[in-house]
């Protein structure tokens, strides 16, 4: 094998290496800069009062944590204990926990809450997932932090863990609630 013919191969290896490294990097800090936008407008019922009309005015005045969940989602079930815990221990004067029940029949949602406990102040009932779609939800669970003016400040797809709450979410809530 003549060396000159191996040249292209080595250059190619370097290229692939560089691209691979690029994959693990965060392009232009997108992860650091949050693409905040105001919450979508909606009018929706709750799990326990489906006839009630709750709108985005729900977010006004208090920092909210919106947790998208479903009874058929096993990761949500695992995550649920965290919410029950946090609802008891974290200072509720600063924030409210709002649930978004996603793609669930009403009975299943209620059943789930009766077995596993209901940490949510308000639980929006999104049977067809249309509201979730507006928030860009793909799969459950997903958690959002929304400030007192209704602007989405943070988004965590997948199950939230206590360390992540302590590191990312709770400090953000404190920071946002101090602004008032």
């Amino acid at each position: 094998m003549k060396m000159r013919f191996l040249g292209p191969f080595f250059i190619f290896i370097l290229l692939v290496g560089l691209l691979y490294k690029g994959l693990n990097h965060d392009p232009a800090g997108t992860q650091k800069v949050l693409l905040d936008r105001p919450s979508p407008i909606f009018e929706i019922g709750t799990v326990f009062e489906p006839q009630k009309r709750v709108t985005e005015a729900l977010w006004q005045g208090k920092v909210s944590v919106l947790n998208v969940w479903a009874s058929w989602c096993s990761v949500c079930e695992a995550e649920h204990t965290l919410w029950v815990d946090l609802a008891k221990t974290q200072d509720r004067s600063r924030w409210q926990l709002v649930g978004l029940n996603y793609h669930d029949p009403l009975e299943n949602a209620r059943h789930f809450l009766s077995i596993h406990g209901n940490p949510y102040g308000v639980n929006l009932f999104d049977e067809h997932g249309t509201l979730g779609m507006e928030y860009g939800v793909y799969a459950t669970p997903e958690t959002f932090v929304i400030d007192q003016k209704g602007v989405i400040r943070y988004r965590h797809p997948g199950g939230l863990t206590k360390p992540e709450w302590d590191r990312d979410v709770w400090p953000l809530i404190q920071q946002l609630s101090q602004k008032e």
């Binding site: 650091k32 905040d36 936008r37 105001p38 860009g136 920071q175």
Partner: protein, 122 residues
């Protein structure tokens, strides 16, 4: 072979002149940026900060969003021209221009960042 050398020479020169550093607002405020050079800054447009000045000139603030510390450091940006359609207060933005001081940038280009839920295609 000569061609490659010529090319390499060109590349080095052109690169040196045209590589622009990218900062977030906090880094700029800490005078990491070189004043008087052309840089790029990426951050979020502060709500309520957009002000229309004379004619097509606008001013607004860019800040970083995540921590309390970073949010304190907002950079003032002045730009003359049409703002892109995706420009919105509370949205991500990248501006390119000459840094006048650790807190003021004269923008030559404003590039709005695409919401991650919109995926424009080629």
């Amino acid at each position: 072979m000569l061609a490659s050398m010529a090319a390499a020479y060109l590349v080095v020169i052109a690169l040196r002149e045209n590589v622009h550093f990218f900062f977030n607002p906090l880094e700029v405020a800490n005078a990491k940026g070189a004043i008087g050079t052309q840089i790029r800054v990426g951050g979020m447009v502060q709500e309520g900060s957009l002000m229309r000045k004379e004619g097509l000139t606008v001013e607004f603030l860019i800040r970083d969003g995540k921590t309390l510390e970073e949010a304190k450091h907002a950079i003032k940006v002045q730009y003359t021209g049409l703002l892109p359609d995706l420009f919105r207060e509370g949205q991500g933005i990248v501006v390119s221009g000459i840094l006048q001081s650790p807190t003021f940038l004269m923008a030559e280009e404003v590039l709005a960042k695409h919401d991650e839920n919109y995926r424009p295609k080629e």
